[in-house]
């Protein structure tokens, strides 16, 4: 092959992939480092989730279920924080529950962080039930009495010694359950808890799952749906606390554009090369 014949475009077609890595890294990193934000358009599904919580009278109880682990943290943790801010801002009481044992420390960390911001007191304004194995069985038994599954909270403190838990026994005492889902627990919340106990439900899911859960919203089985980082950004906008989701959406958009530009450049290089080969 004659080196001089290789045009700029063709060189581009065979570029060291580390340049691509660098560009993707920068495109994602710059909005984070400089706090660049993207305007976010709120979708009806997220608005409806927000309205459901916003309508609750002061002192109502919201149960948030942490059904994810570290792998889905980037998408679901911003949702958790935005929802917690909404609840604490409206003086609602929060109960955290876990169905993924490895999500325990992650959920607790988010809860403590936001509670501190609002000066909330453990056991009075919020608490964490922790994890019990049994999935569906746990969900169903909470329909009659939470204490039949959770004898104590995450640290083993008996529920009755926490002031806020005095009058909370089952789903009748919980206004809304918010399920943050990276797997199949969301389906169980809908099929068991919503169907049997008519419990109001909101789901926050990873972007990959959103399309699969959408039918629940259409069927009215859930009150709202927050999907992926984009959904988290929308919720942040609603609670007037643009945080990670907003920054993330800027990175996200730029990264998509960058990848599409790569594809276009790659194809130009490919066609230039083919034209030259035909010409020879």
């Amino acid at each position: 092959m004659n080196g001089e014949n290789i045009s700029f475009w063709e060189k581009l077609g065979k570029i060291d992939r580390r340049w691509i890595f660098l560009i993707i890294g920068l495109v994602v990193f710059i909005p984070i480092a400089f706090g660049l934000r993207m305007t976010v358009h709120v979708s009806p599904a997220v608005k409806s989730a927000y309205d459901t919580i916003n309508r609750l009278p002061e002192g109502s109880v919201v149960m948030i279920s942490i059904d994810y682990d570290a792998a889905s943290m980037p998408e679901l943790q911003p949702m958790l924080k935005a929802i917690l801010r909404h609840c604490f801002d409206k003086n609602l009481k929060v109960i955290l529950i876990n169905f993924w044992p490895l999500g325990l420390p992650i959920g607790n960390q988010g809860l403590e962080e936001v509670a501190k911001e609002y000066g909330k007191v453990y056991g009075v304004d919020y608490m964490n039930l922790g994890y019990r194995p049994g999935d569906i069985a746990v969900m169903l038994r909470m329909g009659t009495e939470i204490r039949s599954v959770f004898y104590g909270d995450i640290k083993g403190t008996p529920l009755d010694s926490l002031p806020m838990m005095k009058n909370i026994h089952n789903y009748d005492d919980i206004a809304v359950v918010v399920g943050l889902e990276a797997g199949s627990m969301g389906d169980y919340w809908v099929q068991y808890v919503n169907a049997r106990f008519k419990q109001d439900l909101i789901l926050g899911v990873t972007a990959v799952m959103a399309a699969g859960v959408y039918p629940y919203l259409q069927a009215g089985q859930i009150k709202g749906l927050i999907g992926g980082l984009k959904g988290a950004a929308e919720y942040e906008k609603l609670v007037n606390h643009p945080a990670f989701g907003h920054i993330g959406m800027a990175s996200q958009s730029w990264a998509h554009v960058a990848i599409i530009l790569f594809i276009i450049l790659g194809n130009i290089g490919y066609f230039m090369e083919r034209r030259r080969k035909r010409g020879l």
């Binding site: 994602v28 980037p74 972007a207 993330g248 990175s251 996200q252």
Partner: protein, 210 residues
Amino acid sequence: MIEALGIWVAAGLTLAIMSFLYGDNPIYKFAEHLYVGYSAGYWLIYTWHFTIKLMVIQPIAEKQPGAIFLVIPLFFGVLMLTRWFPRIAWISRWSIAFTVGIGAGLTLTGAIHGYIIPQVKATILPLWTGNGFSSFNNLVIVIGVLTTLIYFFFSRPHTGVLGKTSKVGILFIMIAFGASFGYTVMARISLLIGRLDFLWSSILKLVHFF
């Protein structure tokens, strides 16, 4: 202090893994060996706690009904360990055969009841729904399923009509792959956003600490 140390370690490990993007290097090698070693130990503990302790020891200790049948897996489990003794290592094939039998039985019924029947049922769609667009959608779905299945015909040459339909099938398959690929990009970028944000905030925290 412990907290700062934790942040240092977590941020350091994050950078160490990312250095793999540039190429293999001692820092990545360090993180990789630590990862493999640590997680191998982690899963050993996990297996002990969630499998041996909760599925074997506890049911037997509490004399749960049916606990007696645990003798079966215990027997085959011990046989598996004959692999440590080359002369009788062949006995471990019995245990492999047992697990294969379980697998074959479960996947046979699972594939029929859990996949084939419901998916076929979902594909039996009327091509006229009273609405032009949704009728068209049903048609697209039915054609997509049938042509794709034709592509997976093995015992006949793909020529003539069979060949043409299987060509349509492969185009449908390519569309599905493209959609699936494009759909996943968003989630993958989110992961990187999460990681870089963690890294940046750790740096800010550490700068603040000193």
